[in-house]
């Protein structure tokens, strides 16, 4: 529960301006539009009769004209509920409540049946809610008849216009409950000594919410009683009410509320519904009984403030509770005083525009208050609470805008935050809660004069002015200064209030921003009217992270009461700071711009290796032709020399060996030729099939063919190398095939060697 309280406190605090003195605005048009948003019928009716009643009641109180028409569908539900014998007392109660607003055409017999049922229920009841619903229902039926009677007796009444059924409804004018006093006692028996009530005699837990219900039920009993209830009994109930008000809780801003103190509170029983229940019970009870109830006015006003402080609830139930309670507080004219809400149309008063203090006085629902006197008791500045600037002044009334205003602010009032203490006084002291002091916080604003603004660069040791520039802080400035780390920068200006005194704003910042977005902020201090800041760069180099370059200068002066708060770019200073030493602090990390971080990247396209430059085919072929020339020359030379083969052996054996020898050489040479031309034909299978291939050639070779930068081997040389390896490898394979392990071994050794 404490949590819930804290929540409401937070809620109210956020709405109010400051805790000590806060302003509550009465119900306004924003409530009306919110009501239409909150209570929206689906297909011509609300989801339940209870909600229907809440909606209709809210619309009625707020005087909403353009409300949704739900009468046709709802009246059907109402008569069905009333006609059904299985309806619970709560259903009947809700139906009757709706009926009391919609005035549906209900058959008289239906009422008769209900009345007897309800009367039986009341006399047999023992729980609080068993009393509450039937009594409430009976009260509503009686009220309905009373309404019709009043209708009959009104002067412009035309009897023929009355529906015969309506006439039937009036037939039970003598509606009452028997043994009213006994019922009164049994309800009272559930009460506790602290003014709270229990729901049943078995349940020891007492509840404030139940107290409200009980009071309503008791009020119903009193109004339904055929004979007068014992005044002593009523007196004890009144005493209970006073005790209940002793347990009222309070916020700092003057709002009072009731809250449940039990541990496990259902969610819907917050302070709002509890307070609302008490207000309903209280007003119902005081309406039916005579004699005054000596309730303190500030508590009634506090309750009203509590309901208003909620603002506009977003929940239909809360909204209804708020509006309904406020309506009870306002309409109950006889016993509980009506609270009046004082609210200024604006809490900001401009001295320059010669505005005056104005306050509005309304009832909680926003209607006009009766004529009364509004007195300004005193007004003081929040900084010096003891010295009052205005004492005991009556506010004049402007009938046109229905506002009370102060004729003129005295000359002693300068810009600042003030609290105006206002007293309401009315001739109808018994009717309205008056005599309470309302603290209204007011901001008196004005244009602040800015003068003598100048910026200068000073020499450090002598303080002599190097360069100086006048500034016009109301317009644009583009000063460009340059300084080194041995110099100082001085900025000074004067602030004067409209009344000519010194003004000290809340915000007076000088900001230096380096090109790299590193910022340095300084407060500009003042002595009297004069504001001055001197930046000694020598002491600041480390803080500036040894960043030389352009620093933009920006001045911000602002205050709550300063109408011309300013943010000016003055210009820049070019700073020359020595190089950073080794261990100098690094500038803080600057957040990366999100837009650039997420942009697309620059495209990359691969640079392909340029194919090796080859001479044109013709040239190669030409040179191929040229290579034949030596051979031709050699052959011609041989012919010229007249060589012969006369020495060839003639005998058969040497000739055979000679032929074999040359055929051998020719075979070797031919093998070279074949190797070049048709090496693959020698293979049984193809070693170039990718599956099961043994990679031919060392990695280095392939690498060299691919790598354009390592041109140790030309592609031609590599080809020759590869061919040779291929050849030898094939030889190995062949050797293997034919069982020559020796030769295949030699081949492998050769492969690896190459």
């Amino acid at each position: 529960m404490a949590r819930s309280l804290a929540g409401f406190l937070v809620l109210i605090l956020t709405i109010s301006i400051c805790e000590a003195a806060s302003i509550f605005q009465p119900i306004s048009d924003s409530h009306r539009s919110a009501a239409l948003d909150l209570f929206k019928p689906v297909d011509g009716s609300f989801s339940s009769l209870e909600e229907t009643y809440e909606a209709l009641r809210t619309f009625d109180i707020l005087g909403i004209k353009k409300k949704p028409d739900v009468s046709t569908a709802t009246c059907g539900t109402v008569s069905k509920t009333l006609g059904s014998s299985s309806s619970t007392p709560k259903d009947l109660f809700d139906a009757l409540r709706v009926n009391s607003i919609l005035k549906c055409k209900i058959n008289a017999e239906v009422f008769e049946g209900i009345i007897s049922r309800l009367q039986a229920a009341v006399s047999g009841a023992s729980l609080l809610l068993d009393f509450y619903y039937p009594i409430g229902s009976l009260g509503l039926i009686k009220l309905l008849e009373g309404g019709v009677i009043a209708f009959y007796t009104s002067p412009d009444f035309d009897k023929s216009s009355i529906d015969p059924l309506m006439q039937d409804q009036t037939s039970k004018a003598d509606l009452h409950i028997s043994d009213a006093e006994g019922i009164f006692r049994s309800i009272k028996a559930l009460s506790q000594s602290d003014g709270r009530w229990r729901y049943s005699s078995n349940n020891p837990e007492s509840s404030t919410f139940a107290a409200g219900i009980a009071l309503e039920a008791l009020a119903g009993v009193v109004s339904l009683a055929s004979s007068e209830i014992d005044q002593f009994m009523i007196g004890t109930v009144k005493n209970d009410i006073l005790k209940l008000f002793d347990s009222i809780e309070k916020y700092d801003d003057g709002a009072f509320y009731f809250d449940e103190k039990v541990v496990n509170v259902p969610e819907h029983l917050g302070p709002l519904s509890t307070s609302s229940s008490v207000v309903r019970g209280l007003t119902a009870f005081t309406t039916v009984t005579t004699g005054s109830l000596d309730l303190p006015g500030d508590k009634i006003l506090g309750l009203a403030k509590f309901f208003l402080g909620i603002g506009i609830p977003g929940d239909a139930k809360d909204f209804f509770n708020q509006i309904d309670s406020l309506a009870f507080l306002e309409s109950n004219r006889r016993v509980v005083s009506i609270p009046l809400i004082l609210s200024p149309p604006s809490t900001v008063i401009s001295l320059t525009k010669k505005e005056n203090l104005k306050v509005k006085v309304n009832t909680v629902l926003g209607s006009k208050a009766p004529p009364l006197t509004v007195k300004l008791v005193r007004a003081y500045s929040t900084s010096s609470k003891d010295t009052s600037i205005i004492d005991n002044k009556e506010l004049s009334f402007d009938p046109e805008g229905a506002v009370y205003f102060l004729d003129a602010l005295p000359d002693s009032v300068d810009v600042g935050n003030y609290i105006f203490v206002v007293l309401l006084d009315s001739e109808h002291k018994d009717l309205y809660v008056t005599g309470t002091l309302t603290h209204v916080p007011i901001y008196i604003t004005g244009l602040i004069k800015i003068g003598n603004a100048e910026i200068a660069v000073l020499d450090s040791d002598l303080g002599s002015i190097e360069t100086q520039r006048e500034l016009d802080l109301s317009g644009e400035n583009t000063v460009s200064l340059s300084a080194n780390h041995l110099q100082k920068l001085r900025l000074s200006f004067q602030l004067t209030t409209p009344r000519g005194s010194a003004f000290k704003p809340h915000q007076a910042f000088l900001k230096l921003r380096h090109e790299t977005k590193v910022e340095h902020v300084y407060l500009v201090g003042n002595s009297g009217k004069k504001f001055e800041i001197i930046l000694d760069f020598l002491g600041l180099v480390e803080k500036f992270f040894y960043l030389s370059g352009k620093y933009d200068i920006q001045l911000t002066v602002g205050d709550v009461v300063m109408e011309n708060s300013l943010l000016r770019d003055i210009g820049h200073v070019e700073l020359d700071i020595p190089e950073a030493p080794e261990k100098a602090p690094r500038p803080p990390l600057q957040a990366v711009d999100p837009y650039s971080r997420y942009g697309p990247k620059a495209e990359i396209s691969h640079i392909f290796r340029v194919p090796e430059k080859h001479p044109p085919k013709e040239l190669s072929l030409t040179f191929l032709g040229l290579t034949f020339l030596p051979l031709i020359g050699f052959l011609i030379g041989l012919l010229q020399l007249g060589v012969n083969l006369k020495n060839f052996p003639t005998s058969s054996v040497p000739a055979t060996f000679a032929i074999l020898f040359h055929v051998g050489i020719a075979a070797v040479l031919l093998l070279y030729g074949l190797f070049w031309l048709k090496v693959r034909l020698l293979l049984v299978g193809s070693i170039h099939d990718i599956e099961g291939t043994q990679f031919l050639g060392s990695f280095l070779d392939v690498r060299r063919t691919q790598d354009p930068f390592a041109s140790g081997l030309g592609i031609i040389q590599v080809e020759i190398r590869l061919r040779m390896k291929e050849f030898l490898f094939e030889c190995c394979l062949l050797g293997k095939q034919y069982g020559h392990f020796g030769s295949s071994f030699v081949g492998l050794v050769l492969v690896n060697y190459i």
Partner: protein, 466 residues
């Protein structure tokens, strides 16, 4: 084995009956387990059906933690807009002793709304680590603080890369860009219209009216590259205690003050952090707004549109992408090869769809890029789109062989990041794919063979000349 059987057969009668009982009861227990699993499965079924999934990425079940249940009423417009969009809101008090985000290792919620500025500790089993784990497992979070922000809330924010002003009494004050109202004169109800330029975060409809803000300032951790400033304060704003005189320059000042920030984590969990709980309240949502010194008066603040659109983003109703059907093949073919040869021409395509809250629609952009990547990108190309979600391009495989990847790394402001890769080897030319004979080499070969021929002829004549 044989010994075991012998032993077993020699067991006494009572022993075997005992074993039978055990077996029997195990069976019963098994049945019970199955039954309870079934019950659990059935009871979880509706939850599982409507929860977050890669195919249906919008959150469904949202836990709303409140300091006080009256917030339900005072912030009802925001909550109702969530409910009307199909979210299942579960309101709980922050110190509810039964508070728990997960049960049996399964998260009960898809998202968390923390409207609990003053809560020092959560009830139940939830704590700072619990909230962070929740986010780390890809769930979303909305956090709103105000002037009463507790250490717990500040710590959660800090873990997300957002630092609230350390001065607990400080509020954002702006003497130039404040809202003109009748009842407030302390310039803490400020007006801001400095939004992030991102349609995906704030919706395609421009927020026309400025935002009303009353709360505390925060700054972004510069080391965190995932956090983004969505709404920043004006240059004249500062964060200080409005009721006391300043003795030091405020830590947060000007546009460095972030009012609303979002984080999109690497696992696509989305977080929204703001220092103003009031920003969501009915009062500010309904309130009109007029900026000081500006004659333009808006009948309604931009808050409603802003918080609604932002919550759509946070709860993955927008900006959630998926990429499917990453394909590639050689130009002129349709089948995906197992390996490419250097200098092959290939075609690459991928389909990207965006979740609209209800269905997947084509994602249209002109900045989706593919990388052909091995240690570093060799090719980075922007894809063409057919406006129906298909992105394609073609390029030539670089003349470098090795194991490459097709990579689509798509990170755009506000969108979930896409990171796809598919591995593909690239081989060099086979030996027989080179030219068989190189003309340029013919003179060399010619010279060799002619030398050979010459040698042969010479050897004959040399030996047999007379």
């Amino acid at each position: 084995m044989g010994i075991c059987i012998v032993l077993f057969s020699s067991l006494s009668q009572s022993r075997s009956s005992y074993i039978f009982r055990i077996l029997n009861s195990t069976g019963a227990a098994e049945r019970m387990t199955k039954l309870s699993a079934l019950v659990a499965a059935v009871s979880l079924l509706p939850i599982l059906c409507f929860s977050f999934s890669p195919e249906n990425p919008t959150d469904r079940r949202v836990l709303v933690l409140l300091d006080d249940l009256s917030l339900k009423s005072s912030h009802s417009i925001f909550f109702n807009s969530l409910k009307s969009r199909g979210f299942d809101l579960d309101f709980k008090l922050a110190d509810d002793p039964k508070l728990s985000l997960q049960r049996y290792g399964q998260y009960l919620y898809d998202a968390l709304i923390l409207f609990t500025p003053s809560t020092d500790r959560f009830g139940g089993s939830l704590d700072l680590a619990g909230v962070l784990d929740f986010v780390d497992s890809g769930h979303d979070l909305i956090l709103a603080a105000d002037a009463s922000a507790s250490d717990l809330i500040r710590n959660i924010a800090t873990e997300c890369g957002v630092d609230f002003d350390e001065d607990s009494s400080a509020m954002v004050i702006d003497h130039k860009s404040y809202a003109v109202t009748e009842t407030e004169g302390d310039h803490t109800l400020i007006v801001s219209d400095d939004y992030i330029q991102s349609d995906v975060i704030l919706g395609s409809t421009k927020v026309e009216s400025p935002i009303l803000y009353k709360g505390i300032a925060h700054s972004l951790n510069a080391a965190n590259s995932l956090v983004l400033k969505v709404l920043s304060a004006s240059p004249s704003a500062y964060s200080a205690n409005p009721s006391s005189k300043l003795s030091n320059p405020p830590l947060l000042i000007g546009s460095a003050i972030s009012l609303v920030s979002v984080v999109q984590a690497r696992n696509n969990a989305r977080i929204m952090i703001t220092g103003s709980l009031d920003m969501f309240s009915n009062r500010l949502l309904r309130s009109g707004v007029q900026k000081a010194g500006d004659s333009n008066k808006y009948s309604k603040s931009g808050n409603e549109q802003f918080v609604t659109e932002l919550s759509k983003w946070v709860f993955h109703e927008r900006g959630h992408l998926k990429a499917v059907n990453l394909r590639h093949h050689k130009v002129g073919e349709t089948d995906e090869p197992a390996i490419y040869r250097i200098n092959d021409n290939l075609e690459f395509s991928v389909q990207i769809y965006e979740w609209s809250g209800k269905s997947w629609g084509p994602y249209v952009a002109n900045d989706v890029q593919v990388q052909f990547y091995m240690m570093s990108p060799y090719v980075l190309k922007t894809l063409f789109t057919d406006q129906k979600g298909l992105y394609h391009t073609s390029f030539k495989v670089p003349d470098v062989y090795g194991v490459f990847q097709f990579k689509v790394e798509y990170q755009r402001l506000g969108y979930t990041s896409l990171s796809l890769s598919k591995q593909i080897p690239v081989r060099p030319f086979k030996h027989n794919e080179y030219e068989r004979f190189i003309t340029t080499a013919f003179p060399y070969y010619g010279a060799s063979f002619i030398t050979m021929a010459g040698f042969f002829i010479f050897s004959i004549f040399y030996l047999y000349n007379k």
